[in-house]
């Protein structure tokens, strides 16, 4: 029997709970703002997740306090262990101070531009603790700005994906129509004569891509540099 056998196997997390569980993970790592949960509508509908969040907030406060040993609610330990153990591998902590300038520029412009469209933020009332222990909760340390900005960056990326997603249907719709016209009999009797020429011309896009590589690679490096500027994990620049 190994030590791991003492633990019960982790119950699978429903997909709907995944964002909240990830946010709990970030909070416990000191990377996520507690305020983020106020805007999570999932907490209203999911008792398990509201338990997880309350337990995580409690634990975070206790760590901030240091000497205070709070009495945890009955299911807090199990919820926290489950949350902490969840899918560490897929979590990427991005600490990008440069978002403070360039990321904020894009995000702020977008946020201001869509300001009149957006529905007001809903304030979610967390359910009352089941058996709350009276804990003196000091002001928690401020949330990491880079982590919140990384969230904004993720959201911006996802919005771009949402916009582009339906257009992915275009090739699926129009390619068969184009094929149908191209494959309409009768077949081109000169197809075989044109094949070598078509092959030679078909190589041109690859050659063009290759020729542009010095420019595209440098541009890619420039944007990667912009994105990573100020990353603690990045190599020193001086």
């Amino acid at each position: 029997m190994t030590a791991r056998d003492d633990f019960e196997p982790e119950p699978p997390v429903p997909p709907a709970c995944r964002p909240t569980v990830d946010a709990v993970q970030r909070l416990l790592d000191g990377d996520g703002p507690p305020a983020a949960f106020a805007a999570d509508p999932h907490l209203q509908a999911c008792r398990d997740c509201s338990e997880r969040v309350r337990a995580a907030l409690l634990l975070r406060s206790a760590f901030a306090e240091g000497a205070v040993r709070p009495k945890a609610p009955p299911r807090a330990t199990a919820a926290i262990v489950a949350a902490v153990a969840l899918d560490r591998r897929t979590r990427i902590v991005r600490r990008r101070w440069s978002y403070a300038v360039c990321g904020m520029a894009v995000a702020a412009c977008f946020t201001v531009a869509i300001g009149p469209w957006a529905t007001p933020t809903r304030t979610v009332q967390l359910p009352a603790p089941v058996s709350p222990a009276k804990v003196e909760t000091p002001t928690p340390p401020p949330a990491r700005i880079d982590a919140t900005l990384a969230d904004a960056g993720d959201a911006l990326e996802n919005i771009g994906r949402r916009i582009a997603e339906p257009t992915a249907a275009a090739p699926r719709v129009f390619a068969p129509l184009a094929d149908a016209l191209a494959a309409t009999p009768p077949a081109n009797p000169f197809a075989a004569d044109f094949a070598p020429a078509a092959e030679a011309l078909a190589d041109l896009p690859d050659a063009a891509r290759s020729g542009l590589e010095p420019v595209t690679d440098s541009a890619y490096h420039a944007f990667a540099y912009l994105r990573d500027m100020g990353t603690p994990a990045a190599a020193p620049k001086n």
């Binding site: 959201a155 997603e165 190589d203 620049k237």
Partner: protein
């Protein structure tokens, strides 16, 4: 101050020359590194956002199906919440951040490391806030918050040439740096960049930008664009030359030609411009006398644009002589490829038109050509769009009539050969040849309900000086000789109509869904749902145009995204 002392003061101020205020963009570019490979400039974001917020598009978009789906998404909520959370922490708001800090000019410059080594690459961010105090407070709040959260250990004052800058020391021995030069805030992860900026600021003239990057932007015609990525070709010369030298044998001809173009390039930029519509473009300036930049502007649009119907889903048209185009393409190919192109033309057309008449026919083809796709006819069951190809055939040459006759024979031979080959192989699905008169022209077509999808009848005619080939003889009959076009101005190359594509998908959804589902082994309902979502996503857009514009050494290749409602009043 007494009235007597006040008057001379006012008089003196009135007599002084008006101070020359540099534009925020110019102030930022004045101190940007002149040898940067890339310089990204975002300007007037405040005005652009303000115009957009009060635009018809902004009022209309949330009511569309796609807008509703997008704006109701958790990602939009998350973005807004994250930005607001950060702003709260820093004691500001998104509106104030845009108005006071980011709304005038922001720039980022980048220099790759020598030999592309990322260890030595350098970047610099420059911001010209409208209210410098607002940014000072923001930076102070950011330093304070990040020290508290442990992201930054300390902010240490430093000096260079007697000028102050700050070092933000981070855990693990890392650091980044910032300074103020007048109203311009600079930030970099590289201390040398900040020191270089301080030195540059003390040396360059106040109007240095006007002669440098701003002048380049003006030459490229992008000085008022919302965002510009300036590309300095000389900073990448070595990499381009190395690439050409190391190219694979079958790419070498192209890479050498590309290297020649690159050497002839004086400046380049990618840009985004926002007005009623959105423009995304590439602008190029060739060196004086350089025989470099391809597709030089200043040409004429293809006259066939006038023949493209308004409801075309897609169209592409140009103006090149077939012979010249073949020569240009041949120059990009290796020897084997060039021979393959030549022999394809000679072996297919040669025997049909006669080898002696081949140069005559090739010379008569063009320069106007066009290809477009129209919605299908209204007959029941027709759902495939109609494709039309038209090519100008010059008859005014010394043996023009002979060339036209030879061309007609060649196309007719192709049609008949294909029909015979098909009928031989498919005795149960015979194709008939049909001839119809259309004025002076004869429209020849192939017809078979069994062999072709509904509505498809390949056809061609030599009509009004054009060879017209289409998938429906009705489209050939509809073709009319376009009026002559004036040279200069914008030259359209490609047009994609989102509005017509949407209308087509909505009208023929059932036929298309059934066809695609049968062909790809899918459920028609799933394909129909995908079609609907795609049609919804097209709703905000009217059409996309790809065009060139410019004059002399300047060429702009522009993608013009026309939206359904204006993005400004």
């Amino acid at each position: 101050m007494t009235r007597q002392r006040l008057f001379p003061t006012i008089a003196l101020v009135a007599l002084l020359p008006a101070p020359a205020f540099a534009a925020p963009r110019d102030e930022v570019l004045r101190v940007s590194p002149p040898d940067a490979a890339f310089t990204l400039v975002v300007q007037n974001a405040r005005d652009h956002v303000a115009k957009f917020r009060t635009s018809p598009f902004a009022a209309w978009f949330p009511g569309t199906t796609f807008g509703h789906r997008l704006l109701d998404s958790p990602d939009v909520r998350k973005l807004r919440d994250s930005v607001e959370a950060v702003c709260r922490q820093l004691g500001t708001a998104p509106d104030a951040l845009l108005d006071d800090v980011l709304g005038d000019a922001v720039a980022f410059s980048y220099r790759p490391g020598p030999g592309g080594d990322p260890k030595d690459e350098r970047g610099l961010i420059l911001v010209r806030p409208r209210t410098p105090d607002a940014l000072r407070k923001l930076v102070a709040a950011l330093d304070d918050q990040q020290i508290k959260s442990g992201e930054v250990k300390a902010v240490v004052p430093r000096t260079h040439e007697g000028q102050p800058y700050a070092e933000r020391q981070k855990p693990g021995g890392k650091a980044d740096f910032y300074c103020w030069r007048g109203p311009v805030f600079a930030y970099s992860g590289n201390e040398e960049e900040i020191r270089g900026l301080i030195g540059r600021d003390r040396k360059v003239a106040p109007d240095a930008a006007a002669a440098g990057p701003v002048a380049t932007m003006k030459r490229l015609g992008v000085e008022n664009a919302a965002a510009v990525l300036l590309i300095n070709p000389r900073a990448l010369d070595a990499e381009v030359a190395a690439k050409a030298a190391a190219g694979k044998p079958d790419e070498r001809a192209f890479l050498q030609r590309f290297g020649d173009y690159w050497k002839g390039l004086d400046a380049a930029a990618l840009f985004v411009d926002l007005g009623r519509d959105a423009e995304f473009g590439l602008a190029l300036v060739a060196k004086d006398g350089a025989d470099g930049v391809p597709a030089k502007a200043g040409g004429s649009p293809s006259g066939l644009w006038a023949a493209v119907p308004d409801d075309a889903l897609f169209a592409v048209a140009g103006r090149q002589k077939v012979g010249e185009l073949a020569d240009w393409l041949g120059g990009l190919l290796p020897d084997a490829g060039r021979k393959a192109v030549r022999s394809a033309v000679e072996q297919t057309l040669g025997p049909v038109v006669g080898r002696d008449r081949l140069p005559l026919v090739l010379d008569a083809l063009g320069p106007d050509w066009g290809l477009w796709v129209e919605p299908p006819g209204k007959e029941a069951g027709h759902f495939l769009p109609v494709s039309v190809f038209a090519l100008e055939v010059r008859t005014d040459g010394p043996r023009g009539a002979e060339a036209v006759r030879a061309l007609g024979q060649a196309v007719d031979f192709g049609f008949q050969s294909a029909r015979v080959a098909h009928n031989f192989a498919h005795p149960d699905r015979q194709i008939d040849a049909v001839e119809e008169r259309d004025g002076d022209a004869v429209v020849k077509s192939l017809s078979s309900e069994a062999a072709f999808p509904p509505g498809v009848r390949p056809a061609f005619a030599l009509k009004d000086g054009y060879l017209v080939i289409a998938t429906d003889p009705a489209a050939v009959k509809r073709f009319r000789k376009p009026a002559a076009v004036k040279p200069g101005g914008e030259v359209p190359l490609v047009r994609v109509s989102a509005a017509e594509a949407r209308r087509y998908l909505q009208t023929h959804a059932d036929g298309v869904a059934k066809f695609v589902a049968e062909r790809d082994g899918l459920k028609p309902a799933d394909v129909a749902k995908e079609l609907r979502e795609f049609a919804d996503a097209l709703e905000p857009f009217d059409r996309v145009d790809v065009l060139t514009r410019g004059a002399g050494p300047v060429t702009q290749l522009v993608v013009l995204l026309r939206v359904a409602k204006g993005m400004e009043k």
